[in-house]
Amino acid sequence: MDGQSRLGLVWGLVVAVVTLAGIVVPYGVLSGSGVALAVPLFWTGFGLVVIALIAVAVARWRG
């Protein structure tokens, strides 16, 4: 496996972990925590992280 493929695999793993965190953290950690707005703020941050991950990946494309 060359360096580019490895980089792609790492990116894919990060996306998978982030997506999983988008479910596990609100339901497993934040649910019923009593911290005001914990879940809305987490999911808003989650959306921003997703944007950043995708933007980084497409920025390397050559037209």
Binding site: T19, L37, P40, I54
Partner: protein, 489 residues
């Protein structure tokens, strides 16, 4: 209540502006099937991005998602954002679809999958599955238009008149110039959706005393709505039942995956994706905040789908804000509806009817199918408007059966035509059996996990028991050099 005359006047102005775009698009048309269905594969990033966004973000957002927020709280945001995370699939599959389309001249995603496995029957099966599961989604758009216009005007605009209006707009946007007019009107409609949504949300939050006061009010009376599982709707099972199939939306829904064929180059695709991300994130927040506002201002509704019409009719927003928002939601519905109808039309013309038809015949058949799909959706919406949420979500679970053959097309050379056929037909049959035969709800994770699990198992199992056809294309091998040249993973 909003005056029906005012709403009709706004729709009339909207129609006139749209007609100008359609006329210009028709003048640019070249009369070929590739031009009618893909706008000659020459679209840039901005128009493609707005068109993709308007197609993806439908009336579901400001009617159903808003209702789900009103009913169950913040889980609606998480559900929509897990779908949003699924846009990451475009990083992997977007360039592959585009390169395959360029090399072999594919017009529909089903055509591409059929060619990959060397079987026209696979393409036909994928087209048929798309047809079966996209019609409920079209119906949802129609039902959304009906609920919205009749609800906001207190019945001053009847359900039938509202649905007929949506059908007429979708037909006009589609029939004359195909994807070029659809993409241009989509782009204009996306601007209307975003501008009207932002304006409405800012004003409704201000009417509630500002963001701090709104959050405080929710915290006092509806604190559960800011947590999961919330007041009951968003159990983990329901969340997974809805989120998992929607995660694959970008590659399983042909009305959006077909848009990957219409781009000029990869620079345009990059811009398209960035536009979709920005639009999607903001529009999702708009829909959820709108739902929370409805929770505070209209807490006693009979059904969640009435949240938006009730808020519009409540008088909280002045007519000069409410009417543009109605146009925004109408835009969201029509832009999704016409895109689906055109994609289904292209799949019938390219994948279900005999191969080798002249371009003029393919366009004619596409137009006939577009008309039939829109008419069918309108009739079905008038009969079944009460099951909006169920119908919307069923399409995602049903179309998830196309995921294994699409993934396998690019990443698994051992995938065979028999495996793809077993997956598509077996998975679709199981989805229909569970919902229609056994009454399993789309909110039950059994549906999504059974359908996806069975589809993957059938694709992998039958593929391993059979051999790839001689006519099958090797996407992984043939596209590798181009992918490397474009620095695509």
């Amino acid at each position: 209540m909003l005056s029906p005359a005012l709403v009709w006047a706004a729709i009339g102005a909207f129609l006139l502006l749209g007609l100008v775009l359609v006329w210009r698009a028709a003048r640019a048309s070249r009369g070929t099937a590739a031009d009618y269905y893909l706008a000659g594969s020459g679209l840039g990033g901005l128009v493609s991005g707005l068109s993709y966004a308007a197609t993806t973000y439908s009336a579901f957002m400001l009617v159903v998602l808003t209702g789900l927020t009103w009913q169950g709280g913040i889980g609606a945001l998480g559900f929509e954002l897990v779908y949003f995370a699924g846009l990451s699939l475009l990083v992997v599959f977007g360039p592959r679809f585009w390169l395959a389309g360029r090399r072999w001249g594919f017009i529909s995603p089903a055509e591409m999958i059929g060619a990959r496995y060397g079987s026209r029957a696979v393409g036909a099966a994928m087209a048929a599955v798309s047809l079966v599961f996209l019609i409920p989604y079209c119906t949802t758009q129609m039902a959304g238009i009906g609920l919205l216009l009749s609800g906001a005007t207190g019945g001053g605009i009847s359900l039938a008149a509202a649905v007929a209006t949506g059908a007429a707009l979708a037909l006009i946007w589609t029939l004359f110039a195909g994807l070029r007019s659809v993409a241009w009107t989509d782009a204009g409609q996306a601007v209307v959706m975003m501008a009207s949504g932002l304006l409405a949300v800012v004003l409704v939050v201000a009417a509630l005393g500002g963001p701090g006061a709104m959050v405080a009010a929710l915290g006092e009376g509806d604190a559960l709505w800011l947590d999961v599982p919330g007041p009951g709707l968003w159990s983990l099972g329901t969340f997974l039942a809805l989120s998992v199939p929607w995660f694959f939306f970008a590659i399983t829904n042909p009305q959006v995956s077909q848009r990957l064929f219409m781009l000029r180059d990869l620079t345009a695709m990059r811009r398209m994706i960035l536009w979709v991300l920005g639009f999607g994130f903001v529009f999702t927040l708009i829909a959820v905040i709108w739902g929370f506002a409805a929770r505070l201002l209209a807490p006693d509704l009979a059904v969640p789908g009435e949240a938006t019409p009730a808020l519009l009719a409540s008088g909280v927003l002045p007519a000069w804000v409410a009417v543009p928002l109605i146009l925004g939601i109408l835009s969201a519905a029509v832009s999704t509806l016409d895109s689906i109808a055109l994609t289904v039309g292209s799949m019938v013309a390219r994948d279900l009817l005999p191969a080798g038809m002249r371009d003029a015949a393919q366009i004619l058949w596409g137009r006939v199918v577009v008309t039939l799909v829109i008419a069918f959706a309108a009739i079905f919406a008038l009969r079944q408007a009460a099951i909006v949420e169920q119908l919307a979500a069923l399409s995602a679970a049903g179309l998830a059966v196309t995921m294994p053959p699409v993934v396998g097309a690019f990443f698994w050379r051992r995938g065979t035509a028999a495996g793809a056929l077993a997956c598509l037909l077996g998975g679709a049959a199981l989805a229909l059996f569970l919902v229609i035969g056994r009454g399993v709800s789309v909110f039950d994770p059994v549906l999504a996990f059974s359908v996806i699990g069975a589809s993957v198992a059938l694709f992998a199992g039958v593929s391993l028991l059979t051999r790839p056809r001689a006519a099958a294309l090797d996407f992984a091998g043939e596209l590798r050099a181009d992918l490397d040249a474009h620095r695509v993973w």
